[in-house]
Amino acid sequence: MARAKKSAAKDTELVDGEQLTREEALDRRAKRRAEAAQNPPTVVVENLHVHYKVYGAGATKGAATGALNRMIHRRKNNALRDVHAIRGISFVARKGESIGLIGSNGSGKSTLLRAIAGLLPAEKVGGVYTDGQPSLLGVNAALMNDLTGERNVVLGCLAMGLHPDEIREKYQSIIEFSGIDENGARASMRPMKTYSAGQAARLRFSIAATKLHDVLLIDEALATGDAGFQKRSEDRIRELRRNAGTVFVVSHSISSVRDICDRAIWLEGGLIRRDGDVDEVTAEYEEWSRR
């Protein structure tokens, strides 16, 4: 709410590279949302439940006799936990929508994205239906730390389904975008385990942002690297949003969700708390988290 007053007091604000008054910006968003409501759906989520397993300490290492014992006595492995991360979610996303997912840590935001991307299976009761193969753009996409940045670029692109010729074409722009080779530091030739956290995250983002998809899922990719890189990556996401059909953004930065999204879904404890206009939902979320 504080922000709404502040921006109302300011005459104009920067939206998608244009100076607009607050009313103009809201009008534009209202028009976009009204148009999107008539568009065909790209993601339909119906009563979605997601479980996954977590291995605690001592679960992966253990004597075979212990394993045999567990199997014979049908005893559960103590270190193995089942997480019921999503507990029945339904919503519809249509072409042209950009949806921010907000909520506290562990509320199921990233799990929801993975379920939409088809990386985590939905339980039998409900389902996720998508138009084509959505692509998940996350900075957590694990690459191979023993290999050089150069090899990681090639591998990451191949895993996303790019052809080797395309990769050769795009390789230079990926390295340039990541900025890891700036100031003569030939970091792309070093193994990724020698990278700083910021460098690694920047390279991962650059790789992930190479390919365009109809449904784009962005996981915490906005808070990556230094200020210069953040600006570049936000620009890249806007560009991707204009080209993609539907964009989902997971972020803890409420201001970047407001900048990028028209609609917001607030998750808490694996359930939808609120689903609606981005300003309304984020305002309510901020009020709730201050309590």
Partner: protein, 343 residues
């Protein structure tokens, strides 16, 4: 409802009026799920909408043939991943890639010392060194493909949860890594055979199709244990024991036929031991490389015959094993395709 919300957010008062914002949305019901504010969803339901607009279930596995086509499309990824992993394997050690050669040689040296010399299993075997080297390398190919295959999913969960690619890429890539290491081992085997004075014949070329069949067989096994390992993480702890038993039953460093001959063993067990796939692969490759020296002593001649024993239709059996295990492992792994992200 959507249209209504759009008109209100057009006016400026909304952000300052939380009460109106909440009033638009139904409160979370008892089970916590919130009905989406989409009239079409209310009317058709999720599956109805999916059918109307041609949406597919997220992450749904395609049929086995389409899945094979996806794997073929991922071939560049599979080979690059395998090669990179293979090179990264020894990157932390000082001798580096030299270990690719040293590991199999040291393996053979240990078996030669313990079994060949101390336990005397080399007696009655023609050219024991070539016999042993072929046995160790061929069995090792299967053993490592299964060991690493059983951890293919759990070791790469981050990758699986981050990117979509056909999951069978991982066990297949792991078998390719083992094949790359086997090729180095094969160079050693041929070098040893030449050093031992084995005559070079056209038979040596038959090693290539035999290894191709074994690659298919091992890929099937790797796919099989990969899904086992994904369901039950204890698989990778139990597997070494199963594999060690299999090692002893496969006559890697002794002539199993000569051992059996000393005991009364039912015919069915003998048949199973004779058609044990790793032993068949090993024996077929041994018989291409080793020439049996002529002898007048009937006891030694019998020992040689036992050591080089091949059941009838050995090549046919190799094809059968490769086809059954290869296709069976593929289908079994494919059935679990959607579940591997769960961990």
């Amino acid at each position: 409802m959507r249209a209504k919300r759009v008109t209100v957010s057009g006016t400026q008062t909304v952000a300052a009026d939380p009460a109106r914002g909440t009033a638009q949305q139904a409160d979370p019901s008892e089970d916590g799920s919130l009905a989406p504010a989409d009239p079409e969803f209310a009317e058709l339901g999720g599956s109805g909408m999916a059918a109307k607009y041609g949406l597919a279930v997220a992450g749904k596995r395609p049929n086995p043939i389409a899945y094979a086509r996806r794997l073929w499309a991922a071939r560049h990824f599979i080979v690059t991943w395998a090669t990179a992993r293979n090179q990264a394997l020894y990157s932390g050690s000082r001798l580096g890639q030299l270990w690719q050669v040293l590991t199999p040689i040291l393996n053979v040296a240990v078996y030669y010392l313990i079994f060949g010399i101390l336990l005397g299993t080399r007696d009655g075997i023609p050219d024991f060194i070539v016999y042993l080297v072929a046995g160790v390398f061929i069995f090792n190919f299967m053993q490592t493909a299964m060991l690493y295959g059983s951890r293919a999913i759990s070791d790469n969960l981050n990758l699986i949860r981050a990117l979509y690619f056909p999951r069978a890429s991982l066990p297949i890539a792991i078998t390719i890594i083992q094949l790359q290491q086997l090729l180095i081992a094969m160079v050693i085997l041929v070098t040893v055979a030449l050093a031992q004075g084995e005559p070079v014949t056209w038979h040596w070329l038959l090693i290539v199709p035999a290894l191709c069949l074994q690659f298919v067989f091992n890929t099937g096994l790797a796919l099989l244990v990969a899904r086992f390992g994904a369901i039950l993480t204890d698989t990778s702890q139990l597997l070494p024991f199963i594999l060690r038993t299999w090692l002893y039953a496969s006559g890697v460093f002794y002539s199993i036929k000569s051992m059996i001959g000393k005991h009364r063993i039912p015919g069915a067990v003998t048949w199973v031991l004779d058609h044990n796939p790793p032993l068949l692969f090993i024996q077929v490759i041994r018989s291409q490389l080793i020439t049996v020296p002529a002898t007048n002593d009937p006891k030694i001649a019998l020992g040689y015959r036992n050591a080089m024993f091949l059941p009838p239709h050995a090549w046919l059996w190799l094809v059968i094993w490769a086809a059954v295990v290869g296709i069976g492992g593929y289908l079994y792994f494919w059935q679990g395709e959607e579940t591997y992200g769960r961990g």
